[in-house]
């Protein structure tokens, strides 16, 4: 959460500075408009000043993108940048509206203002989302993983479930057979071998059933009919396992059909299913947490480009 009770003290100076600058700007603007038939334009002293300051703010706002990309450059704390990004962005709105003198102007200036307002609105939307979605993620997705790895992790979950079920059912799967050296007394080694250059990392180890079940058909059918499909496709295909309560009922029903020594295995499979549901939720939350950037960033780029054109044209045809 970017703005919360505990860190509001950090935002207070920015809020105060924003309000003070805003009041001074409005007073100057109103004072300059006394006796005029129209609001001061962008070429008036206050209008020009607000334009320059607003333009510099826009430029600074945009620099947070390279700042995020160049973390290793240590250009100040990112939290400080983010606070400045938020409050200067808020301040830029009235400054640039005053710069326009409450006029849209021509095609270029109208485009600029529309872009600016959409960028600001998308930023505010993003800020609002940032207020509660991260806490939702923390609360409802304890199995959160790196977003870009959701596909990889989901694939591993499928492989793991396949291996566990096949072993319990006594199938010798040549394709996914478990090498002897990857089975120990406590569990089953599953997953891809993780390497990066010369570095090789550990793979995950899940507890597994060491004996073949006598009546493994319910497990096998459940795995093929429901579990595998859900773990593989997630929410792209409708599945009863996508519902938490329905899933619990189905696994309980499966336990009743299996002998007691298989119950631990079912618990492991249920946990895999639970993780998959969390990954689905994480995908949704992550999408909403970041999709506003599809508007905010590209339009910011266009805004900066057109802002320089606006400066050139304004000086040429002053």
């Amino acid at each position: 959460m970017l703005l919360r009770n505990t860190n509001f003290q950090n935002h207070l100076p920015w809020l105060a500075a924003t309000i003070i600058v805003l009041i001074l700007a409005v007073v100057w603007f109103v004072f300059a408009s006394l006796g005029q038939s129209a609001w001061p334009s962008g070429s008036s002293a206050p209008g020009f000043t607000f334009g320059v300051v607003g333009g510099l703010i826009c430029l600074f706002e945009f620099l947070i993108w390279p700042r995020k990309k160049l973390r290793s450059w240590r250009l100040g704390k990112l939290t400080l940048w983010m606070r400045a990004h938020i409050w200067l962005g808020v301040l830029a709105v009235p400054l640039l509206v005053l710069h326009t003198g409450f006029r849209w102007g021509g095609c270029l200036s109208t485009t600029l203002m529309v872009l600016f307002l959409v960028v600001v609105a998308s930023g505010i939307w993003g800020l609002v989302l940032q207020q509660f979605l991260p806490s939702l993620l923390l609360r409802d997705v304890p199995s959160e993983t790196i977003y870009s790895q959701i596909g990889v992790v989901s694939g591993l979950l499928v492989q793991e479930a396949d291996a566990l079920v096949k072993k319990a059912c006594g199938f010798a799967d040549t394709e996914n057979s478990i090498p002897e050296d990857r089975v120990d007394d406590h569990g089953l080694v599953v997953g891809a071998l993780r390497t990066s250059g010369a570095i090789q990392a550990r793979v995950s180890i899940s507890p597994s059933l060491q004996e073949t079940l006598l009546n493994s058909k319910p497990l096998w059918d459940f795995h093929n009919d429901h579990l595998r499909k859900f773990l593989a496709s997630g929410n792209t295909e409708p599945s009863e396992l996508s519902d938490k309560n329905r899933s619990r009922a189905m696994f309980n029903s499966l336990r009743l059909k299996l002998e007691p020594k298989a119950h631990d295995l079912v618990t492991v499979l249920e946990d895999l299913c639970n993780q998959r549901r969390q990954l689905i939720l994480q995908s949704k939350i992550h999408f909403w947490l970041h999709n506003w950037l599809w508007v905010h960033l590209p339009l910011s780029v266009a805004l900066i480009v057109l802002m320089f054109v606006h400066i050139f044209v304004a000086l040429k045809y002053w």
């Binding site: 095609c107 995950s204 180890i205 946990d271 780029v301 002053w318």
Partner: protein, 541 residues
Amino acid sequence: MAYQESGKHRASRIQLDYYKNSSPIDRIKHRLAWIFFLLPIAWMGWTFASGDRQTQTFSRGQVTGFHSAWNNNCSTCHSDFEPINNKTIVSGWFGHEAGKKLVSDSRCESCHTAPVHHTNQKLESTPSCGGCHQEHRGLDASLVRLPDSDCTSCHANLQEHTRDSKLIYAAKIASFATPEGGHPDARVFKEKAKDPGSIKFNHKLHLSKGLTIASGGKPWTFADIPEKDRDRFGYQKEMPLSSAVQLDCKSCHVFDPADNNPSQSAFANIPKGLIQPRSRGAHSQPIVFEIHCKSCHPLGFDDKNPNWEVPHRYQPDELKTYLEGVYTRQLVKNNKEFETPVQVRPVPLPGKNPLAQVNESLRKQVEEKVSLAMKNLFLGKKTCGECHYSKDDSATGSVGFSKIPEKIRVGYDPANPLTTWLQEGKAPKGAIWPSIPSVWMPSAKFDHAAHRFTDCASCHSQANTSSIKDDILLPNIENCRSCHAPLTFGTASGKMAKGARHECVECHGYHHGDRPYSDIGSNAWNPARTRSLENMHQTLP
């Protein structure tokens, strides 16, 4: 107890080089960023590559309808990297020096040569054309309805902006709406000035019913007015001719020549310049004797021939010559000696004039008649002396002359200090001034037509009581402020009050301040170079 994987267990599923792979969301974001980086560049490139589109794209707004023919040609008015408004704070950044003429000003003046405000104003205080006339505010925007600040930037402290040490205008004017704004009353009220005109006129008498103010006086009736002129003084069919005439303001003060409605014969001797076609009604049409006065004030001079009248606008010596002609013609016509045809007269001996005695007799008769007529015209209380002053007389309200004047005064009274204000430095060279001022505030403008919804007495209430011509019957500035001030809620009346426009430009023009009797029709407004229709869009210079 339910089984749950540890974080370490989950972390073991993450690829070591996960950071090399971006998420779909990031990939879309970056692709969109590139698109929106290239899109405006392409747009601007396309715009710059095609000439006319630049205007449509970069213009801050449509120019006014008057200039819309040049809407797509920036350089008609703009000069690259030179502010069109020399009052902006960046003017100096572009090397513009205060007081130096802008290229864009020259471009404006290629069509509009607007004369300077005052020749004694400081150049550095003089705004550029674009400093006041701001364009790109829409088709219907006004270029001449300017904010007060354009004027008060100098007039709030005029001394700083003029080269003369002595000011003839108020030194500090901040606004018109309130007395605190410093706007003075009209100059004609200064030092209790008197009407500089040279026509005696009693408004009170002429606005009284029957045109008499004496108790028991004989009323002026329609029977006293020639039949052909009765209609224009309010006569209607079936009215008894004994009805008293009641004049009102419109009987004499009309704002369109068509409303004068004089009889055809009245036009005969009217100078053509007194008839202004298509008057906008700002000022009253000139008072013309033949139209407004003659019906009741005929210029008769011979009691035996009451229909004989002298023409108006003749000086005494001209009148004498005219009368000599009239009487000579009459006597010759009536003398039997002149009835014999020329062909049958005996040829006179050389050096003898058979009509010499007759001529001498005729000359004496003519002199006597002319002398009597001149006395009738100038020494009676009616005719010339009733309205006119001798050129050498000091202007008074008295009626009649004590002797036959050598010259009748025309134009303004030269001894009146107001004459200097009304004429000096403001008059067209060689102007012949009327004897009744028609413009009382040369530095301001007033439009009677715009105020036609009010009755005349709302502003000219003194007209009903003024009995001498010296009275200036103009309202003072407070009368103007009763409407021309910010909208207020009248606590006494409980109604909204005032609210009419009260900006400087409502009454004042800027250009041609030294010659306010001229307007945009004068040659001073003509551009140095004119265009043909074919090169109308060409940039000059």
